[in-house]
C-alpha cells in the first residue's frame, strides 16, 4: 500500500493505483480526456499533467500513466504543470471548429469545461483548421469528427470494452480518423455509450439532437425497465417530456454503461397516441369517470356472479407498487388473480428462477465480471439483457472460459464455446457440460428463462448448489423476461397464469377481466384462444400507459402513468429492489399543449393530463379504497402488508436485495411434447431491438430492428434449397407469415429461430415460445 502526498495531502492507496485516481480519492480532480476509470489509461491526451516533486520520476508527468509510489510527492497546482496543461488545451483547440453554439455537447462538454477553466479564449495559431468528412452512423449516433481531440476513448470502449470491430481508427499523424470503414449503422447495441464517453462532441445523441441543453433538463436518477437487469440511468426531462437518457454509474449493477435499448427505449412515454383520458366503449371521458364506471361495473358483476367471475391480469413491467396494489385488490374483493405471467412454461421458469435465488448463490453483474468460468444455459444476453453481455466480456477479457448451451445462433462480442443443441436437449447438455466448471474457483451459471423451462432452471440451481458444496464460490445468474418479473414472483399468490384465466373465461366462469399494464393481445401466445375468450367477456377493463391493441379493444380504458411520472420500485433479476423517483410531473408535454409550434401563451391553473393516476392508485380505487397519499406511505403500506417486502426499509442508494425465502414457485407442467417427425421446431426469441413492449414504440429503435427474419441451420436450409436472403413464408394455423432467411453455421439443427419483431403481429397457436412447424409448411416466396 504505497503512501504518497498530493498537494500536501497524504493518502494511502492500493498497489497499482494511478496518481490520477489517488488524487480523485482525495477529492482533487485532475483534468483528463483520455483517462476513464472503466477503460484505463493510454496517455493520449496529455492534459492530466502534474508535477512530481519527489519520487522515482520527477518533473512534469502524466498522472494517468504513473503508478502511485511510496514517498511520492505530487503537485497538481505547480505552475509548470499548469502551464503544460494550458498548452495542451491550446493545441487541442487548434483544429476545433468553434461550433459550440450548435453542438449538442455544449454545456456538458469536457473539452469546453477545460478550455474555459484553462483560460484559453483566443486561437493564436493563424493556420488553417484540419477538417474531416463525417459519416452516417445509424439513427442513434451523430458523428462530427472535426471536434475530435484523439483521446481514443471511443475505440477503446467500442473495441476493447464492448468487443465490436466496426468502429476503429484509421490514418496517421494529422489524419487520424475515428469512424467506420464505410458509412453505415453501428453494429454494437452499446453504441450509444460513445455519446456518454466521448469527452467532446464527436458522438452526440441523434434522436434528441438539438432538443435541449444539459442545464435546462431536470435530471433525475432512474432505473432502466427495458429488461430485467435494472441498469442505472439518468433521465433528462424538460417541458414534461423525457428528452434524453444516459448511463449512470453503479458499483453493483451496470458499472458505467447501458445498452441502446435502455438509452433510446423511452419514447413510448410521450408518443402522441398515448392514452391521456379515460375511455368507455370508445367514448372519451374523464379519468375519474372511467375509474368509477369500471369500479361500479366490476362490483355489479361480482354481486351477480360472485367474486370468482372477475379476473385480474398484470405483468412484469409494472412497478412493485402496482403489483402489490393488485394483490391487495384481489385479496379484498376475492377476484381471481392477479396473474403476472401469460403461460405456464416461461412463467414457471421465471418464477422458479426468482425462487431459486438466495443470498448465497446470487451474484450481481459486477461480481460476474470477476468470474473465471461462465456457463450460459438457454440465455442470449445480447438479445435478452444486453448489458449482461458487456459484463461477460469483461470476465472473458480477464481470462474466464465461457460456454454457451443454446439452440440459437449466438453472436456475442467475445470468445465463447457454443454447444448448439435443441431446446429440449439443453438439460442433457447442461449435465454433461457441468464438469467444465470443475477447474474454476469462481464459476457462474447464467440461466435464461425465455426458452427454457423450470426444470432446467432447477437443474442449473442444483449445479450451482453442488459447486458451492465442493467449496467454490459459485453463483447463479438468471435473466428474467421483464423488469419486475422478480417482484411478480415475490408477490404472486394465486399459482395461475393468463392462459388459465383465458380458459376459465372460455368456460364462462369468468365474466370480467381487469388487465393492468399488460398487453395480452401482443404477448399472449395463443391468439385464437384469446380472441374467443375476449368475445365471451362481459367487461374488459384495461389500465395502461401504452396505447396497446388491448387498450383499444377494452370496454373501459383507464390511462396510467409511466415510470418517469410515477416512479416506483423495481426488483431486478438478482432480487435487488431499486427505487425510481419520478423524473417529471405528469401531464401533457408543453409542446403538445401549445398552439402550433410554441407553448401556450396563457396560463392554466390545471395542467391538462395531470389528473392521470398511477396504476396502483387505480387498483386501490377499483377495490373501493382510498390509496395511500404519498409514495413514502405507499412503501410503508407495502412493507406492512407483505412480509416478503419488509426489507424495503433497508433500501439505500444500492437498493436492497429481496429474496423469496422458500416460497414455492407456480407449478410447471411437463415441457413441450416431443418434436414430431418431419417437423422443425420454431423458437420465438427475444431480440435486442424488438419484442420488448415499451421500446417497440421508439421510432429510432424500430429502424434498427430491420425486417422480420428467420434463422435456419445451414443443413436445414440446404435441404429446403433455401439461401440466405430469400423470403420464405411459414404457414401457421392462422395464416402465413413471411420472413427473410438468415443462415447460421452454429445453431442447433432442426430449429428455426424467429427473433421478436415489432412488425410481427401474429401469434402462432402454441404453448409458448416454442412451436412445431411441419417442414412442408415452409414455402419460399422470393429468391434473394
Amino acid at each position: 500500500m504505497p503512501k504518497l502526498i498530493i498537494d500536501n495531502l497524504e493518502i494511502e492507496v492500493p498497489e497499482g493505483t494511478r496518481v490520477i485516481e489517488a488524487a480523485e480519492k482525495l477529492g482533487i480532480y485532475i483534468p483528463r480526456f483520455c483517462f476513464h476509470h472503466a477503460l484505463g489509461a493510454v496517455g493520449a491526451c496529455r492534459v492530466c499533467a502534474v508535477k512530481v516533486l519527489e519520487g522515482a520520476v520527477e518533473g512534469v508527468q502524466m498522472s494517468c500513466m504513473i503508478d502511485a509510489q511510496d514517498g511520492m510527492k505530487v503537485s497538481t497546482t505547480d505552475p509548470e504543470a499548469a502551464d503544460f496543461r494550458r498548452s495542451v488545451i491550446e493545441w487541442l483547440m487548434l483544429n476545433h471548429p468553434h461550433d459550440c453554439p450548435v453542438c449538442d455537447e455544449g454545456g456538458h462538454c469536457l473539452l469546453q469545461d477545460l478550455t474555459v477553466a484553462g483560460g484559453h479564449s483566443i486561437r493564436r495559431y493563424e493556420g488553417g483548421k484540419r477538417t474531416y468528412t463525417d459519416q452516417y452512423l445509424g439513427p442513434l449516433v451523430q458523428h462530427e469528427m472535426n471536434r475530435c481531440i484523439q483521446c481514443y476513448r471511443c475505440v477503446r470502449f467500442y473495441r476493447e470494452y464492448s468487443g465490436y470491430n466496426d468502429l476503429g481508427v484509421t490514418g496517421i499523424a494529422g489524419r487520424v480518423y475515428f469512424g467506420r470503414l464505410r458509412e453505415g449503422v453501428l453494429e454494437s447495441p452499446f453504441a450509444g455509450n460513445l455519446i456518454d464517453i466521448c469527452p467532446t462532441g464527436v458522438f452526440t445523441d441523434k434522436p434528441s439532437r438539438y432538443t435541449g441543453r444539459r442545464w435546462d433538463f431536470e435530471r433525475t436518477p432512474g432505473v432502466c425497465i427495458h429488461c430485467s437487469l435494472g441498469c442505472r440511468t439518468t433521465v433528462s426531462a424538460r417541458y414534461r417530456q423525457v428528452g434524453r437518457m444516459e448511463g449512470r454509474f453503479s458499483q453493483r449493477v451496470n458499472g458505467d454503461f447501458i445498452c441502446d435499448r435502455g438509452r433510446y427505449g423511452f419514447y413510448y412515454a410521450d408518443r402522441p397516441g398515448r392514452p391521456r383520458s379515460g375511455r368507455i366503449s370508445g367514448q372519451t371521458v374523464s379519468v375519474d369517470q372511467a375509474v368509477y364506471e369500471a369500479r361500479d361495473r366490476l362490483q355489479r358483476i361480482t354481486e351477480e356472479h360472485g367474486p370468482q367471475a372477475v379476473g385480474v391480469i398484470g405483468s412484469g413491467r409494472s412497478s412493485l407498487q402496482t403489483q402489490s396494489a393488485m394483490v391487495h385488490l384481489c385479496r379484498t374483493t376475492g377476484w381471481q388473480g392477479p396473474v403476472f405471467r401469460n403461460t405456464r412454461i416461461t412463467g414457471a421458469a421465471a418464477d422458479t428462477a426468482a425462487c431459486a435465488l438466495n443470498p448465497e448463490n446470487a451474484v450481481s453483474m459486477r461480481e460476474l465480471e470477476t468470474a473465471d468460468a461462465i456457463l450460459a444455459v438457454g440465455a442470449d444476453p445480447v438479445n435478452e439483457a444486453p448489458v449482461l453481455a458487456l459484463a461477460m466480456r469483461q470476465a472473458q477479457r480477464a481470462g474466464a472460459q465461457i460456454t454457451a448451451i443454446d439452440p440459437r445462433p449466438l453472436e456475442w462480442p467475445f470468445d465463447f464455446e457454443h454447444l448448439a443443441c435443441r431446446a429440449e436437449e439443453i438439460g442433457e447438455a447442461l449435465a454433461s457440460a457441468a464438469e467444465r466448471l470443475s477447474d474454476s474457483r469462481r464459476p457462474v451459471v447464467i440461466c435464461g428463462t425465455e426458452i427454457t423451462d423450470a426444470g432446467i432452471v432447477l437443474q442449473a440451481a442444483d449445479l450451482v448448489a453442488g459447486l458451492r458444496g465442493s467449496g467454490k464460490t459459485a453463483g447463479l445468474f438468471c435473466t428474467l423476461p421483464q423488469a419486475n418479473s422478480f417482484g411478480a414472483a415475490l408477490l404472486d399468490e394465486c399459482n395461475a397464469c393468463a392462459a388459465d384465466l383465458a380458459a376459465r373465461v372460455e368456460a364462462g366462469q369468468i365474466r370480467a377481466l381487469a388487465v393492468i399494464e399488460s398487453d395480452l393481445w401482443h404477448d399472449f401466445p395463443d391468439r385464437p384462444q384469446l380472441e374467443k375468450a375476449l368475445e365471451k367477456l362481459d367487461l374488459l377493463v384495461s389500465v395502461d400507459f401504452l396505447d396497446t391493441p388491448l387498450f383499444e379493444k377494452a370496454d373501459i380504458g383507464i390511462p396510467s402513468l409511466t415510470v418517469f411520472e410515477a416512479g416506483g420500485i423495481y426488483v431486478n433479476q438478482e432480487g435487488r429492489a431499486q427505487q425510481v423517483r419520478p423524473a417529471h410531473t405528469g401531464g401533457l408535454p408543453i409542446t403538445v399543449t401549445g398552439a402550433g409550434d410554441h407553448p401556450p401563451r396563457t396560463f392554466a391553473p390545471n395542467v391538462p393530463g395531470r389528473d392521470m393516476p398511477a396504476a396502483w392508485v387505480t387498483a386501490f380505487c377499483l377495490a373501493g379504497q382510498a390509496p395511500p397519499e404519498t409514495d413514502a406511505q405507499m412503501t410503508a403500506w407495502m412493507r406492512y402488508n407483505f412480509a416478503v417486502l419488509s426489507d424495503l426499509a433497508r433500501m439505500d442508494a444500492d437498493g436492497v436485495r429481496l429474496f423469496a425465502g422458500g416460497k414455492t414457485p407456480i407449478a410447471h407442467e411437463a415441457t413441450m411434447p416431443e418434436k414430431p417427425e418431419q417437423c422443425l421446431e420454431l423458437l420465438l426469441a427475444a431480440a435486442v431491438f424488438g419484442g420488448e413492449p415499451m421500446s417497440d414504440y421508439s421510432q429510432c429503435l424500430r429502424e434498427l430492428a430491420g425486417l422480420p427474419a428467420v434463422w435456419m441451420d445451414r443443413a436445414d436450409a440446404d435441404r429446403h434449397g433455401i439461401a440466405a436472403g430469400d423470403r420464405v413464408g411459414l404457414g401457421f394455423e392462422n395464416g402465413e407469415v413471411s420472413f427473410v432467411v438468415r443462415i447460421s453455421d452454429h445453431m442447433a439443427p432442426g430449429v428455426l429461430v424467429v427473433y421478436r419483431h415489432p412488425d410481427i403481429d401474429w401469434q402462432p397457436r402454441a404453448g409458448d415460445t416454442r412451436y412445431n412447424i411441419r417442414e412442408d409448411r415452409i414455402r419460399r416466396i422470393e429468391k434473394a
Binding site: 470491430n165 484509421t170 490514418g171 496517421i172
Partner: protein, 159 residues
C-alpha cells in the same frame, strides 16, 4: 486478384500462425505486389483471408507509408524528407524531380509511369540525400544521378 500460388502459400502461413493478424502486412504487400496498390476488393479479400474485420486491415493499411490505398504509377519514387536528407538538400532535389516529371508530390505522371511521394525517413542517413524507387534505395543523390536513375527506368520500360 492474387496469383494462385502466392495465395495458397499465404493461406498455409495464415493457418500455421498463432494469430492470423501477425501476417496482415505480408498479405497486404502481396496484394499490392499484384495490383500496385491495395484496392477496396483487395482489402475485403485480405480481411476474409485473415478472418479480421476489414476496418482492422484498413487501420493498418492507412498507418503504413508503403502500403498504398490509392492507385499509384508503375514506379513509386519516395524521396526522403527527413532531417539529414533535408540538410543535404533533399528539398531542391524534390523540386528537381517534380519539374523533371511535371508533377507535384503525391501525384502520378500522366503516362502512369511514376508516382512521386515523400517519405518520412528511409534510414539512409549515412548516404543522404536518398530516395527509394520500388523498394530499392538510392543514396548520395545529385541531379545527375537522378537523371541517370530515372533514365534507366525510362529505358527499361519504353513508353
Amino acid at each position: 486478384m492474387l496469383p494462385e500460388q502466392i495465395r495458397a502459400e499465404l493461406e498455409i502461413r495464415i493457418a500455421e500462425a498463432d494469430h492470423p493478424q501477425e501476417l496482415a502486412v505480408d498479405v497486404m504487400l502481396a496484394f499490392q505486389e499484384a495490383a500496385g496498390y491495395l484496392s477496396e476488393r483487395a482489402l475485403e479479400t485480405a480481411a476474409a483471408m485473415l478472418k479480421m474485420h476489414s476496418l482492422e486491415i484498413e487501420e493498418i493499411a492507412t498507418f503504413y507509408t508503403f502500403i498504398y490505398r490509392e492507385p499509384v504509377g508503375r514506379n513509386v519514387i519516395h524521396v526522403c524528407d527527413s532531417v539529414i536528407c533535408w540538410l543535404d538538400g533533399s528539398e531542391s532535389l524534390m523540386d528537381y524531380i517534380c519539374r523533371k516529371l511535371g508533377i507535384a508530390p503525391g501525384q502520378t505522371t500522366a503516362d502512369g509511369k511514376f508516382t512521386l511521394l515523400p517519405a518520412c525517413c528511409l534510414g539512409y542517413c549515412d548516404r543522404s540525400p536518398a530516395m527509394m524507387i520500388n523498394r530499392k534505395v538510392y543514396g548520395h543523390l545529385s541531379r545527375d544521378r537522378i537523371d541517370d536513375i530515372l533514365a534507366r527506368f525510362e529505358r527499361e520500360e519504353p513508353a
